[in-house]
Symmetry: C2
Subunit: 194 residues, 2 copies
C-alpha cells in the first residue's frame, strides 16, 4: 500500500518536473536523462514510473484538457446566467494558468509533439471545448446578455487573451493573481456584455 | 531605368512568395530552391535580387515592424482622444493582418529565426512599440477615458487578441474584413472604456 502510494507520488514529481523542463527547453530539447537528473533518480529507474517521454507529454496534455472539460460540463449545467457562465470560464482559465503555469504552457504549445493518435484525440477534445464555449456565448447573445457580434470573434478574442497570459504575466510586473483575474475579467466581460 | 524598375518588382514578388512559403512550411522548412521554383526563376538568378534567405526574412520582418512604428508615430501626434488613438491602433492591426496576412504571420512567428544582430534590433523595435502603445493606454486611464486596470493587462489583452487573428480568421468562417474590424473593435474598446 505504502509502496504503491510512493510510486504514485514519484510519478507526480516526474510529471511536474517534466512540465518545467518542457516549458524551459521544449519537449524536443528535453531528454529522459535530463529529467531523471532533475528528479534525482537514476535514468533507468525512471522507467519504473513512466514508459516514455511521449507518455509524459500525453499525461500532461490530457490531464489539463480533462480539467477544462470537467469544468465546462459543470458550468453548462449550473443554474447561472450566460454572463455568469462565461465569467466562470474566464476565471477557470486564469486560475489554471496562474496555479499550474508549466503544465498549461506545455499543453498550449507542445501538443504538436504528441504522437498522431494522441494528437488527433487532443485536437478533438480542444475543438469540442471551443464549440461548447462558443455555444454559451451564442446563447448569451440570443438572450440579449451579450452584444451582437460574430461568436467566433468573441470566442477567439477571449481565448487568445487567456492563452497568452503565460507569455507576459511575470512576477516583475507586480500584478497579483487576484488583480490579474479582476482586470482581465473586467475587460473581457465588459467587452462582450450588451 | 527600366531594368532597375524590373529588378525592384521581381524582388517584391520574391518577398511576397517567400512570405507565403515561410508561413506554410516555416522559415526552416523553406529552401531558396523552393522559392525560386515558386517565383519561376532559376535558383542561381535569385541571387541577382536577394543575397540570402536571412536577408529575405529581415526584409519581411523589418518592413512590417517599420509600418507599425510609422503609424504609431502618426497617431501619437494626432489631435485625437486616447480612445480614438487606441481604436486607430486596433484598426491598424486588423488591417495589416487581413491585407498582408502572410508577411504579418511570418513577422509574428519567424522573427525567432533572424540572426542575432537582426533579432536584437527587431526585439528592441517591438518592445518600443509595446511601450508606446502602453503609454497611450496609461494616459487614457489617467484622463478617465479607460477603466482603471493594470496597463499590462489591457495592453496584452488587446495585442494577443489581435496577434491571434491570423490563426483563426479563415474564409470559411464567413466573416468579412469589415465585420471583423467592427466586432473586435467593439469588444476591445468596450472592454477598456471607462
Amino acid at each position: 500500500m505504502n509502496t504503491r502510494k510512493n510510486a504514485v507520488s514519484k510519478k507526480e514529481i516526474i510529471l511536474q518536473e517534466a512540465a518545467r523542463l518542457f516549458k524551459d527547453r521544449g519537449f524536443g530539447g528535453t531528454s529522459m536523462r535530463d529529467l531523471a537528473e532533475r528528479v534525482g533518480i537514476e535514468a533507468a529507474s525512471m522507467y519504473n514510473h513512466i514508459r516514455s517521454k511521449d507518455e509524459i507529454l500525453e499525461e500532461i496534455c490530457f490531464r489539463i484538457a480533462r480539467e477544462y472539460v470537467a469544468h465546462i460540463s459543470e458550468i453548462e449545467h449550473a443554474d447561472m446566467s450566460y454572463r455568469e457562465k462565461v465569467q466562470a470560464l474566464i476565471g477557470l482559465h486564469v486560475k489554471m494558468i496562474t496555479e499550474d503555469p508549466h503544465a498549461v504552457s506545455v499543453t498550449n504549445n507542445d501538443w504538436k509533439s504528441l504522437n498522431a493518435a494522441a494528437m488527433a484525440s487532443f485536437k478533438e477534445i480542444r475543438k469540442d471545448y471551443e464549440k461548447r464555449f462558443a455555444a454559451l456565448i451564442q446563447k448569451g447573445i440570443e438572450q440579449g446578455e451579450f452584444r451582437a457580434v460574430h461568436v467566433s470573434v468573441a470566442l477567439f478574442t477571449i481565448l487568445s487573451s487567456l492563452r497568452w497570459i503565460e507569455l507576459w504575466y511575470k512576477p516583475e510586473r507586480e500584478i497579483t493573481k487576484e488583480e490579474l483575474q479582476k482586470d482581465i475579467t473586467a475587460i473581457l466581460m465588459n467587452g462582450i456584455n450588451a
